[in-house]
């Protein structure tokens, strides 16, 4: 059984030419018959099967629908048509630190973000030291997050999101933050999770990284899957067109 089944998924956005943010504007436009939208398909009839244990890479140019696909999988977007079936728990690493409150300290944020991801406080208690250890920020625990650098925020966020062994890890270009030492550490952590049976979906613009880490790759173009299959074939074809 596939761990993620994406069947015929389309995601439509209404790009309203003018945004109607007030009643007056809205009804005026409605009365004049101007209430029209440019329809835009961020995803069009996408089919994808991810098997347990896969390390799936998503590649494509900016605006090809990679992030939208990740958000559909993680349940942030509900697809306009089609179905998504996910058989397992998801740890989303889409733009790290989404659940952070910059006015709170790192310590308080670890608990807040942990519960955003659905962990219990007890569980976070037991993993607290591990998180701090991994992020190497013990000296800054009681400093409000607004005083952190973006790399430091990313460290904490990555550490929290990966303390559990999720069935599926979704990572959107997160590895581009942090210095090279930390990037290496993150890669190791993801490899480690994989050896424990976690399925990973990774978006990256670094084709070298994809080639190094993934066993399967899907190539998105204008919201459609242009090609998917094993890493070598897809990456070779992708590199050919971009050259």
């Amino acid at each position: 059984m596939s761990i993620i089944e994406i069947d015929n998924v389309s995601m439509r956005f209404n790009l309203s030419k003018e945004r109607h943010e007030s009643f007056k504007e809205y009804f005026l436009a409605l009365a004049k018959g101007h209430l029209q939208f440019d329809e835009f398909y961020a995803l069009k009839n996408v089919n994808l099967r991810v098997e347990p244990g896969d390390f799936y890479g998503l590649i494509g140019l900016n605006g090809s629908g990679k992030s939208t696909l990740l958000k559909v999988i993680s349940g942030v977007y509900k697809p306009t048509t089609g179905t998504v079936k996910v058989n397992g728990t998801i740890a989303p690493l889409i733009e790290l630190g989404a659940g952070f409150d910059m006015d709170l300290t790192a310590r308080e944020n670890i608990y807040l973000n942990g519960t955003v991801l659905g962990f219990t406080p007890k569980y976070i208690d037991s993993k607290f030291d591990e998180i701090v250890e991994f992020s190497e920020l013990r000296d800054f625990l009681d400093v409000p997050l607004k005083n952190y650098s973006s790399g430091m925020v990313a460290r904490i966020a990555f550490a929290i999101a990966t303390i559990t062994k999720p069935d599926i890890l979704i990572a959107d270009e997160i590895l581009s933050v942090g210095d090279f030492l930390f990037q290496k550490k993150c890669e190791e952590r993801m490899q480690h999770l994989m050896s424990g049976g976690t399925t990973v979906i990774l978006v990256s613009h670094s084709i070298e990284q994809i080639e190094r880490m993934c066993n399967k790759v899907a190539w998105l173009e204008h919201g459609q899957i242009k090609m998917d299959g094993d890493t070598e074939t897809v990456c070779a074809a992708y590199k050919k067109t971009t050259k």
């Binding site: 007030s22 007056k24 958000k71 942030v76 998801i90 989303p92 409150d101 659905g118 962990f119």
Partner: protein, 265 residues
């Protein structure tokens, strides 16, 4: 039935998030203030002192002759109305304010309005310390019926939650709602019998006040705490009925529109 069970499971999984968000709000509210939490008692106390001064001097004639203990009378009205206004206003903005989060992680969206109404209730409970203080100072006799005040308070909570859900969903699509709600709340202040005796009114004003659910919540609460008369059947019916109706409309409207939220944030 299955979907109800699923919703409950969903909610149960995120109960700690709810708890954490409330703690965060509470911490941030009083961070860097010298008196800290003491403000949640001082604030309503001082506010009511101002109102008390005004309505016993400048507008002394307005409140009617039949209020024995005006201080407690006023404080009850003020605290409950503040709970209503605060929680609904905060709930209204909550979904949109958390747009950055909702765009990235899956969280049940109703968590945010729910959290704000809970936070409002926590604030309200803290401010009851002020009420107890004033009751002690004015030597208000304590009747056993005061336990019953839990009923109007609990039903008011659900009344606020229903309205909060409705407003937060509307606010995602139309930002005008905030301004309208502000004006509406101000108008409602005068129609909720906070600082005058509603029984002295006649004609259409009398009927208008009795159509206002908040009048019922406040009066029921006063009846339990201040007058020692407990609840009448009509009070139980109106308070409960308004809560159920508000929740039904709120949940229906929120559920229908929540999948479209992310597209408008």
């Amino acid at each position: 039935m299955a979907s109800l069970k699923q919703s409950w499971k969903d909610f149960w999984r995120y109960r700690y998030l709810l708890q954490n968000l409330i703690t965060r709000d509470f911490k941030l509210k009083y961070r860097r203030s010298v008196l800290g939490v003491a403000w949640s008692v001082l604030n309503p106390l001082l506010m009511c002192l101002v109102m008390y001064a005004i309505f016993t001097s400048i507008f002394a004639g307005m409140r009617g002759q039949n209020i024995d203990n005006f201080a407690v009378f006023l404080l009850v009205g003020q605290l409950l109305f503040n709970f209503f206004r605060e929680s609904t206003t905060m709930a209204m903005e909550s979904v949109l304010k958390n747009a950055p989060l909702l765009r990235k992680v899956y969280i049940p969206k109703y968590i945010f309005p729910l959290e704000k109404v809970c936070f409002g209730l926590v604030n309200c409970l803290f401010s009851f310390v002020a009420l107890v203080l004033v009751m002690l100072i004015t030597r208000t006799p304590l009747h056993l019926s005061f336990i019953l005040c839990v009923y109007p308070l609990a039903t008011l909570f659900f009344f606020c939650l229903g309205i909060g859900l409705f407003l937060s969903a509307t606010y995602v699509f139309f930002r005008d709602v905030m301004h309208m709600w502000e004006v509406f709340c101000t108008a409602l202040t005068y129609a909720s019998a906070i600082f005058y005796d509603p029984e002295q009114m006649t004609g259409i004003v009398y009927h208008l006040i009795h159509l206002n659910p908040l009048y019922w919540y406040i009066t029921a609460f006063r009846s339990c705490v201040l007058w020692g008369q407990g609840l009448t059947g009509l009070m139980v019916l109106v308070c409960g009925g308004c809560a159920v109706f508000s929740m039904a409309v709120g949940i229906f409207f929120f559920k229908r529109n929540q999948d479209r939220f992310v597209l408008y944030m």
